[in-house]
């Protein structure tokens, strides 16, 4: 739809510990023309998936059972594939303050405002 022509082939990994959010986010992005390669429920499996699938974009929840999205974003920034990280949380950006500003991420979207267009806008400069 909206972003079909912009990012026809952008590949995505969805990382969140809540299965219902993962599945809806996957369908939202798929419908908008992104190619969601896989989902991960925690930091360790997310890193493994990034190394295996080399996605263009990682939709990354801030609060994970084994780590935080900020820390994982730093790790991912050092990966050779350097995926574009979009942090998401049910909390607002102001709740995180400085850690969000320092994060190795393209941007942050509050979950209640998550749309494919918002993701596309953040990763617009990407592949």
């Amino acid at each position: 739809m909206l972003c079909d022509d912009l990012h026809v082939s952008a590949t995505v990994l969805v990382v969140d510990d809540h299965p219902s959010f993962r599945s809806f986010a996957r369908r939202l992005l798929d419908d908008a023309g992104f190619a969601v390669l896989d989902e991960a429920g925690d930091g360790a499996s997310a890193l493994a998936a990034v190394r295996r699938l080399r996605p263009d974009v990682v939709l990354l929840d801030v609060l994970l059972p084994d780590t935080t999205g900020f820390e994982l974003a730093d790790v991912l920034a050092a990966e050779p594939s350097r995926p574009a990280v979009v942090l998401v949380s049910s909390r607002r950006a102001t709740d995180f303050g400085a850690s969000l500003e320092r994060a190795s991420a393209r941007g942050f979207i509050t979950k209640s405002e998550l749309t494919a267009a918002a993701v596309a806008e953040l990763v617009g400069g990407g592949p």
Partner: protein, 581 residues
Amino acid sequence: VRAIPALVLCAGAGLCALLIDGAHRGGWPPTDKAAIGYSAGLLSIAIGVVVWLRRPDTRTGMLLTAFPIASLAADLDIVFPASPTAITAAFACESLGAAFLVHAVLSYPTGRFSSRLDRGFVVFAYVYATARGLVLLLFYDPHAPHDPLMFDWYFRARPLTHVAWLDVTRIVDVFDGVLFAAALGLVLLLVRKVLRASPGEQRIVLPLVAATCFAALQVAVQLAVYREPVNSWASGNWFWVVTFASVATPLALALGILWGRRARSAVADLVVELERTPPGAVREALARTLRDPSLEIALCLERGGYADGEGRPVTLPASGSGRAVTVLGPADAPVAALVHDPVLLERPALLAAAGAAARLALENERLQAELRAQVAELRASRTRIVEAGDDERRRLERDLHDGAQQRLLAIGLALQLARGQLEADAETTRELLDEADAELRAALDELRELAHGIHPAVLTEQGLGPALATLAERSPVPVTIDGVPDERLPAPAEAAAYFLVSEALANVAKYAHASRIRVSVVRENGRARVEIHDDGVGGADPSRGSGLRGLLDRVQSLDGRLRIDSPPGRGTHLEAEIPCA
């Protein structure tokens, strides 16, 4: 019982009079010396009888009475040298007095021996006295040929118990050699006794030991110089030495008794002193009066246990730890415990008098300590309540974040997707709306659960009975509710009872491995008594884990009490009393 010492005193006086009169009539010993020496013996008897009456629980008084009586009786042969009865009695008592004295001193002040060595020495003393007496009783015969240099040629009668003649003087020489060694041995034992005594004991024992050492040493000197006991009646200087030695020990004891009287008057001083003693200084005043610098005071707290003046908990020393404990005040409401030198147990009257004098001041200190302990406890529980509140808020935030909030987000995403599908595909749209509906119901359920955890509506609306019933229904371990008051209780009491049961049921399910739980709530005397009993593994400890601690705080904040009885292997019994007047 008190008549016996009095009768013994009369008999002693009679014996003394008999000896003085006999000496006067017979001409030996010289009348003036006899009067002095035997009166000194009577004085010793009187002292012994006083001790006997004051401390009937130890043998010391009896032994100190027996010592001069036996010593006087041992002189019957000198005063009545022609009387077989007198000679028999005198021989029987020859060394018995010394054995009684040794027994009294080595077992002083408790009446018990503090070592096997002491006990062994006393046994030896009695065996020695018996053996020496028997030799004379059985074999002495003034009519048989003997060494004319020995002074015992003087006796002209045979003991009634005479059986055969033996050369007694040679045997007595051997006995005298043993006596010399024993006298020195006794001195060593007495020195050891002083060195091993506690400081308080030393003060009591020292005069007695010094006097007995003097008596033992003068015997040793006699034997060393003359190779036999001196005939003190015939020697000016030795008469005074021997007489003094015989009364020195009883006199030392009398001094001890006088010291006790002085301590009594010290109690009177204490009463006056306590009037102006600031709180907290009672210990120093009592320590001075009882002459025990090591004295400690443990104040009894109303809720059980002991505390020092600052309200810090104190553990009383166990028996056998070298410290003694005396509890002041009535048995059902003790005021304080004195932890002191065990020697003070020998002066129960002094302890009781000083304790009684200090009781009011200690009661005052106790109340202050109680107050400080309560303030400290209150401060700690206030901190815990604040922390528990913060923990609870964090938990709520997390529950909301992970639960209902996530579901509502999912609903939002589903609706977003459905809007996108609206024109394209009716089937997919319906599926998305169904999913959103299911998420919505789940979110509502979770919110309801959460709200219930914060404060159960059933408790507010319907009271404790129905609220406990819902808890029982949810419990994985079967619960029997034995009874709940029908009428409503004050809201704080209902909440405390409800959360108590709720936490207890959760704990049982988590840790107790129980097969059933009984719960009862009874209202009596303006209090609700909540009891929860399970048949699990027991061993619950309120100092571990915040759950029980939090319950304790909640119950205490209502001035209630919580008791946990959880012996390992025998289930847990939790009993709370919550005021609800």
